[in-house]
Symmetry: C2
Subunit: 221 residues, 2 copies
Amino acid sequence: MPIRALVFDAYGTLFDVHSVTARCDALFPGRGSDLSRLWRQKQLEYTWLRTLMGRYESFEAVTAGALRHACAALQLPLSAESEKALVLDYRRLSTFPEAAAALAGLRDCRLAILSNGSPEMLNAVVRHSGLDRLLDHVISVDEIRVFKPHPAVYRLAADRLQVRVEDIGFVSSNYWDVCGAASCRLQAYWINRTRAMEDPLGQRPKAVLERLTDLIGLIND
Amino acid sequence: MPIRALVFDAYGTLFDVHSVTARCDALFPGRGSDLSRLWRQKQLEYTWLRTLMGRYESFEAVTAGALRHACAALQLPLSAESEKALVLDYRRLSTFPEAAAALAGLRDCRLAILSNGSPEMLNAVVRHSGLDRLLDHVISVDEIRVFKPHPAVYRLAADRLQVRVEDIGFVSSNYWDVCGAASCRLQAYWINRTRAMEDPLGQRPKAVLERLTDLIGLIND
């Protein structure tokens, strides 16, 4: 099936959410990676629970709440300044090393981001990374006030790009996000950098790749 | 506000999901508590994700899938027999020590369970515990094919019990379940046995108690 647009997840796929670990570790020596992991787990959990309850709040607010909870649970004292600095780090996350080359190699397709991120934090990280020069659209769930993997999110991409869901290639490192897209009939590719295990969610990716640049041969064929 | 019915969560509230740890540890010495924890985390995650995607499957199937994933992720070889035995353990979970005394002391109210559990596994564990003699209703989400904390679940309890949501006292040890109930205007009580931290989900319990028997004075007043 031809792909008329390629849509990328942002956090974890183009941008490394664990690039906050360095500041976490500077603030709480030896605890940075525990904190980064629990922070991310709670951040995702809250997006799912809030969407289920119909109680949306912006991803930036969710991210700050998850950080406060993770610090409290790990008994790490978090000052207001440190909280602000860590949440602002989401506007300067590292880009995965192959991301720019992958997007540059895929320019025959229209290229977009579809993300949970609130518009301000999302636009900031895209600009900071320089990927804005390679992307045609940056789409945030914020306007529909539900998070992934709610079906409305994947349909929003089709609406914005004016293509059918079946004609979208969707790329994510988050397996549950891949399943959400596949469940809505997008052509879903899983970037599995860490040899993670698949979750039995009743959906499967169209292909599993080790890095973003592996898409180039696949899509351009 | 008067309470016309008391509705209890099952897994984690009346029944101890970590009572499977012993068999986990017998099968995988030294790894029982890691396995039990990841199994439970994945089980909940899958109920949330499947509900978000509109891809329900029974809680027993979700529980089995979560077990297989947790074993694979921890590199523990799980035989078909062990999988079956561990999933069947959900029909014989331990009851928290004070559960029967609490229900007996609250009999002036109508008493019910509202659970993600599929009817067979739920009825089995209730019978095994002997709590069936103290309960008026056992309500499973299975008939509406969504899991907690989707609002339809808490409304189902009101429908079945023929009372308004505001007149239900809802009791859970799972903080996110308490939030789901509070978000639907039930009077939600959090049983916090482990001194867990609250999650910032925009809802709060009406009261936080250490054990189920603490409800007796509160509700009967």
